[in-house]
């Protein structure tokens, strides 16, 4: 994985610390913001995202809950309807499914049915690469991307992790915030000073290139950048677009990039069928067919559960070599 650039002078912050900083700043700025979840108070969260919050904000705003995802998100929905700004932690993104109704049927449909907004954030660690097995490694974003009313965000950098969690908390609609756990302590940034908010719905250009566009998000942004470096030595100039928000997709950024490079490779760690990549491929087919010099290719995990044993998981996950192979195919058109 590419180590992100470090600016001299000010200390850099990890992705997980950046999320913590973002939530903390929002809690200081807005008394309506509170956090709830399993083991987030006394313990500081399974991944330490809320470490020190209990001492700072007290147990009313840092609520340790029963092991009860439906109660956590359900209570967050009710509180949000009352004008609070709850930030609910799911200990792993795999457990978002335990509160599926609360997210997809209560939170997502409330504004449409009754005009009552549900400004809540449900956040948690997703993704593989840490040998967590079938139930601690999933990327469940596509389950939720099919739900109008939700927004879905997944940062790839520490700066975005902070800026997007702040934007998510300020958003008037329900936001699912997927944190890639592989990145928690592996990427860092010197965070921008001041009130750093990254708008939801805007992709970021991570590397400019002429020959093809890799459209990706989360930890795969770094895989794409590593692949681009390899491809450069072979004379293939790849552009990398970090989607950052998966619902709604930044279609204009996607079209702008692919309109220039004329070749598109969609890369995600989630499994293939019905994934975000399929939606992007459809958008490209509908909106920039005339610009395409090659079919849209997908590099994704295969349609299997996430396997546990290291050789199995390494085989399962997309990597630099798989991305390079697909890029060479595209460049050959």
């Amino acid at each position: 994985m590419t180590a992100p650039a470090r600016a001299a002078g000010r200390p850099s912050t990890t992705y997980v610390e950046a999320i913590r900083e973002g939530i903390l700043e929002e809690m200081e700025r807005d008394p309506r913001v509170f956090v709830l979840g399993e083991d987030i108070g006394v313990y500081g969260g399974a991944f330490r995202v809320t470490e020190g919050f209990l001492a700072r904000f007290g147990e009313e705003r840092v609520l340790d809950t029963p092991l009860s995802e439906t109660a956590i998100v359900g209570a967050a929905v009710g509180a949000a309807m009352m004008g609070m700004r709850p930030v609910a932690e799911m200990q792993f993104a795999d457990f978002f499914s335990c509160s599926f109704d609360m997210i997809t049927n209560f939170a997502a449909k409330s504004r449409y049915r009754t005009g009552v907004g549900v400004p809540l954030v449900v956040r948690g660690p997703s993704g593989g690469g840490v040998h967590g097995g079938p139930f601690h490694s999933q990327n469940p974003e596509a389950y939720f991307a099919h739900t109008p009313g939700l927004k879905i965000v997944q940062p790839a950098t520490a700066a975005d992790a902070k800026g997007l969690i702040k934007a998510a908390i300020r958003d008037d609609d329900p936001v699912l915030f997927f944190e890639h756990k592989f990145l928690y302590r592996r990427v860092r940034d010197v965070l921008p000073e001041g009130d750093h908010v990254v708008p939801i719905g805007k992709a970021a250009l991570r590397r400019r290139g002429r020959d093809l566009t890799i459209l990706t998000y989360g930890a795969m942004v770094w895989t794409a950048l590593d692949a681009a470096a390899t491809l450069e030595s072979e004379g293939i100039d790849a552009e990398v677009v970090d989607l950052r928000t998966l619902l709604p997709l930044d279609e204009e950024a996607i079209l702008e990039s692919v309109g220039r490079t004329n070749r598109a490779l969609v890369l995600h760690e989630a499994t293939r069928t019905g994934g975000i990549g399929a939606e992007i491929a459809a958008v490209l087919a509908e909106r920039c067919f005339d610009s395409l010099d090659a079919p849209v290719l997908r590099v994704t995990a295969p349609d299997t559960p996430v396997p546990f044993s290291p050789p199995l998981e390494e085989f399962f996950l997309p990597d630099v070599e798989k991305v390079c192979r697909a890029a060479r195919t595209l460049a050959g058109y």
């Binding site: 209570a75 009710g78 609070m84 509908e286």
Partner: protein, 336 residues
């Protein structure tokens, strides 16, 4: 009102009677094909709905289910709202976006249910949690049927409310049937009140067809919640006099059982009590019935004559910022 005044008792009677008349009108409209979708009735359960909602005070928030027409009327929605909602009209509280009794906002004192039963319990716990954080001395109340108590969300919501000692009252309406499934197939527990024990939540069990008994039990629970002493489950034993919805002829229900409950009609029982106690005369009640009937006919007519929503409104209101609604982008693209 530990001991309701005459005026309050008359108001309770008026709401129960209005509930019955609205429902009869809904059935009429359903047969005329003017009701969109199914019609879920509450015949025989009016006392549970009205008695419980009457136990609330201004500012309290209620989460009603589809058989709580009476509660919705007590909370201030009009028969016209209810008719428009069932007809899918633009003037409906949901603007035609949702049907039946899925209506209301916390500001109006009502949280709109979703059809996934049990889901309101954790959400109403969150309403109570937020109110406590906001230092608002209000109580949240919601309902669950005998079927709904078998769901995970019911369990999770009750458990959370118990742990947090939230100001929540859950009225468990035991009407004997969840669609075609009888109580004995729903739980091995003897009563719904027994379920509360598992959450460390006190429970009360009342005759759900006795409106004052429902009111008094709910009032005790509401007072307890407001004092900061935590949630209560109030089991109201009543009976679903009709099928799950109008299409269902409830042939699975034993006739004798149904006949026994017909003799226990909650509105007739309360009318008798008012007459016997001398608080009302037959003429008084007849006048109330007439007024309610006029109101119901007028409101049904107003709703019937009001327009359907403009079709393109289907795209509105998904997100706070209209331009963020992806479907609008898609529609714009298709049109261009």
């Amino acid at each position: 009102m530990a001991d309701p005044t005459r005026e309050q008792r008359i108001a309770v009677y008026r709401h129960m009677r209005t509930t019955r008349l609205v429902e009869e009108k809904l059935v009429h409209l359903y047969r005329q094909g003017k009701i969109v979708g199914g019609l879920y009735r509450c015949l025989g359960q009016e006392a549970t709905a009205v008695g419980s909602a009457f136990a609330l005070s201004k500012g309290d928030i209620l989460g009603p289910l589809i058989r709580n027409l009476g509660s919705v009327l007590v909370m201030g929605f009009t028969p016209r709202d209810v008719f428009a909602q069932h007809m899918g009209k633009a003037s409906a509280p949901s603007g035609g976006k949702d049907g039946n009794l899925h209506l209301g906002t916390p500001e109006q004192g009502v949280v709109s249910a979703i059809s996934m039963l049990g889901a309101l319990v954790p959400v109403m716990a969150g309403i109570a949690l937020a109110a406590r954080m906001q230092r608002r001395p209000i109580v949240a109340m919601t309902y669950i049927g005998d079927g709904g108590t078998s769901t995970g969300p019911f369990h999770e919501g009750m458990n959370f409310a118990g742990v947090e000692r939230l100001p929540l009252v859950v009225v468990a309406e035991n009407n004997g049937w969840a669609y075609s499934t009888p109580f004995r197939k729903q739980t091995a527990a003897r009563s719904l009140a027994d379920r509360a024990t598992a959450y460390g939540v006190p429970a009360d069990s009342v005759d759900g067809n006795d409106v004052l008994a429902v009111y008094e039990a709910c009032r005790r629970a509401v007072d307890r919640a407001r004092r900061g002493e935590g949630p209560t489950l109030v089991e109201a034993k009543t009976y679903r006099m009709k099928g799950h919805a109008e299409h269902d002829n409830q042939e699975y229900v034993p006739k004798q059982e149904l006949e026994a409950w017909i003799r226990r009609d909650p509105i007739e029982a309360f009318a008798r009590a008012l007459l016997e106690s001398g608080l009302a005369t037959r003429q008084d009640l007849a006048a109330i019935d007439r007024e309610a009937s006029v109101l119901v006919e007028r409101d049904a007519d107003l709703a019937d004559k009001s327009p359907f929503p403009a079709p393109e409104r289907a795209l509105e209101g998904v997100y706070a910022v209209a331009s963020e609604t992806p479907s609008e982008v898609a529609a714009g693209r298709a049109a261009s």
